[in-house]
């Protein structure tokens, strides 16, 4: 199996608190991988670790390069996209400016399709309606759509998506899920963190379960459904 992203023995820290304790994980091109775990298990931290947003040690490889210790913008320029859990849209910019910022400087394209503003607007017509508005006034769900589209504008080969369904109406959740599947069909890999088990299990090929900062389960969604013990111990309250 070729690997797009590979983590080996990754540790992550916030100041003195040690959050990830030796995580191993792989994502292959064009694969959707879900990262599950309880609140505070460190899933978001893992995504941040890949992006270089937290202090890390260990090895993080993207394609053939080691990206551990790189600055976030360097990681992003290599083709990693990140949709953070609190969306982090830029409130004082307009919706369109937010999207424009998603385009990477240098305009590197990769093999697949390159995304344009129009694609995004087609996907989420709501954004087009609000294109010239300050993004700060968008509704929670609209901000979520914006955050996702903005990252796609950079044509990433791998997207790290943190809780994309949070605050979305069921209908839009469905839309997002389809969007992720569409991405996958175009060869983009997705590392997904999602609370809503049903969605995660539905669309992903493999799942990892994090507990106490390390991987406690790895397998297919079917394996997880079958594994009552892991679910009870590491996922439910």
């Amino acid at each position: 199996m070729s690997r797009l992203l590979e983590l080996q023995g990754v540790h992550a820290f916030y100041g003195k608190s040690h959050i990830l304790r030796g995580v191993d994980l792989q994502v292959a091109p064009g694969e959707i991988v879900s990262l599950l775990g309880r609140n505070g298990a460190g899933r978001s931290t893992l995504l941040k670790a890949v992006m270089g947003l937290v202090e890390t040690s260990g090895e993080i490889r993207f394609g053939s390069e080691n990206i551990q210790g790189l600055q976030p913008f360097q990681v992003a320029r290599k083709g990693v996209g990140y949709v953070p859990e609190n969306r982090d849209i830029f409130p004082i910019l307009t919706v369109e400016q937010n999207l424009v910022l998603g385009q990477k400087p240098g305009n590197e394209r990769h093999e697949g399709k390159s995304w344009t503003l129009d694609d995004m607007y087609r996907m989420f017509p709501r954004l087009q309606e609000r294109a010239s508005m300050q993004a700060g006034v968008l509704s929670g769900g609209e901000q979520q759509m914006l955050a996702l589209s903005r990252t796609m504008m950079g044509n990433p080969r791998l997207v790290l998506v943190d809780e994309p369904a949070e605050g979305l109406a069921p209908q839009i959740v469905e839309l997002v899920a389809q969007f992720l599947l569409a991405l996958q069909r175009q060869g983009v890999a997705v590392l997904l963190v999602e609370q809503k088990l049903a969605i995660a299990l539905e669309i992903s090929q493999r799942v990892y379960v994090l507990g106490h900062g390390s991987v406690v389960f790895e397998g297919s969604p079917a394996d997880l459904r079958a594994n009552e013990a892991v679910r009870r111990e590491w996922l439910e309250v």
Binding site: G15, L53, N86, D88, P91, V137, S139, Q143
Partner: protein, 451 residues
């Protein structure tokens, strides 16, 4: 258990307040020279002023560039009151003149605060900047009240001596200042423990949310400014008694900036921070300035260092030292032995760096400002000649060695910032941040957001 804890707490607080009072009482005994008495008196008023400023900055997140307006105008009111009392128009004992100052400050706080507190954050800061410029300009334009450039003078020795106290000798004025300072400190501390004081903290943290628990943040800010202006006015009144003169500089931007500087140096996250800041500030502006012309450079540099490396201020440094000491105690004898050499090394290299830098600065000042020709700074045992390149080199080597040593030894030691939360209020670029529909203000970031 709770009761016991509370008892312990109250014992600790008695201890602290007792120490504070004793320190105020004994200060003149410890520094008996007459000159130091006047420095002590100034320190007292500066402490009061800084505390009152921190009511706004530290507790309310309101950065004012015009706090001197309140103390200065309070001072003017006080000196006029004193002069009226001297003419027997106003039956006011000298010891209560600061009260007149306080009421004066409060009055102007009520007037100006009504305007400035309509805004928070940058808006507030800018309004106060405009205000102080206006007041300062008027102070020179209206000599009737402000006494022109000579200011208004008074004579604090009026009326019959009360219990032999005339307030002529400086020591009597010092104790008057100390008494007012102590009472005001207690009052301001009390304020932090009252509903209004607490809500003020809440307004600092998240003004919008406060509106949804029943409070009008503007009103909260307004009342706080008025109260803070009262204490500033008291400080102004005390200064008026101390100097027996109030002049326009007392309402200037520069003076306001000075208050901001000292308060911040002391540390705005702790109630007692401003006290330390005032001591440091007066030390630098009054004491140090009579030894070196470079005092402004030292003051500015200290300030920059604090902002960069210890935003918790001197108080923050104290607290983290305390914490370090506690950790050391816990580590036991062996732990102490392991740390001690390193600690000593740190202190030593810090001293080395300071000495080197100070010599460099002094040499530079001698060379640059005093006269074009060579001059000599004599230190006990050694002397540095600004005309000798080797001497410059020597000083530079000292400084660099000190800095390098410090940087090297410091690794792995707790960062003063990490150990101490600066308590810096968030000052959004536009004051409060943009409202997002269905969103809380952006500065209250979502949990564990990217810091």
């Amino acid at each position: 258990m709770n009761a016991m804890l509370r008892q312990q707490n109250s014992r600790a607080s008695w201890l602290i307040w007792g120490t504070y009072a004793t320190a105020l009482l004994l200060a003149p005994v410890l520094f008996p020279e007459p000159a130091s008495l006047s420095v002590l008196s100034q320190t007292g008023t500066a402490m009061l002023l800084a505390l009152s400023y921190n009511m706004l900055l530290g507790q309310g997140g309101m950065m004012s560039f015009g706090h001197a307006v309140y103390s200065g105008l309070g001072g003017y009111v006080a000196i006029h009151a004193l002069n009226l009392a001297a003419q027997d128009i106003l039956p006011l004992p000298v010891s209560l003149v600061p009260l007149a100052g306080g009421l004066g400050g409060m009055f102007f706080g009520a007037v100006f605060g009504y305007i400035s507190t309509r805004k928070a954050g940058t808006g507030f800061a800018m309004i106060t900047l405009g205000m102080v410029e206006l007041v300062f300009a008027s102070a020179l334009m209206f000599p009737d009240f402000f006494g022109g450039e000579g200011g208004v003078s008074g004579n604090r020795v009026i009326g019959e001596p009360f219990l032999g106290i005339t307030f002529g000798p400086q020591i009597e004025v010092y104790y008057l200042i100390a008494a007012w300072l102590f009472i005001s400190t207690a009052a301001m501390y009390f304020f932090t423990r009252t509903p209004l004081g607490r809500i003020l903290n809440a307004v600092r943290d998240n003004a919008e949310r406060v509106e949804f628990v029943g409070y009008d943040p503007r009103r909260v800010r307004y009342l706080s400014v008025v109260l803070s202006a009262f204490f500033a006015g008291v400080a102004g009144g005390l200064a008026a008694l101390n100097f027996e003169i109030v002049s326009a500089e007392n309402v200037s931007v520069a003076r306001s900036a000075g208050i901001l500087l000292t308060t911040f140096i002391g540390g705005i996250g702790y109630f007692f921070g401003p006290l330390l800041g005032a001591i440091a500030g007066v030390f630098m502006t009054v004491v140090l300035s009579s030894y070196t012309k470079a005092w402004q450079l030292y003051l500015g540099s200290l300030f920059i260092l604090i902002v960069m490396f210890a935003p918790g201020g001197l108080a923050g440094i104290c607290m983290s030292l305390l914490k370090m000491a506690q950790d050391l105690c816990r580590a036991g004898v062996s732990g102490i032995w392991k740390l001690l050499p390193r600690l000593a090394g740190l202190v030593l290299s810090a001293c080395l760096a300071c000495v080197g830098l100070v010599i460099l600065v002094e040499m530079a000042y001698r060379r640059g400002l005093e006269s074009a020709d060579r001059s000599i700074i004599a230190l006990p045992g050694i002397s540095f000649d600004t005309g000798m390149p080797t001497h410059w080199l020597l000083a530079a080597v000292l400084a660099v060695a000190g800095i390098a040593g410090f940087a090297w030894l410091r690794r792995g030691f707790p960062d003063f910032y990490e150990a101490t939360d600066s308590g810096l209020p968030s000052l959004g670029p536009g004051g409060e941040s943009v409202r997002a529909a269905g969103d809380s203000p952006a500065h209250v970031r979502a949990p564990r957001g990217q810091a």
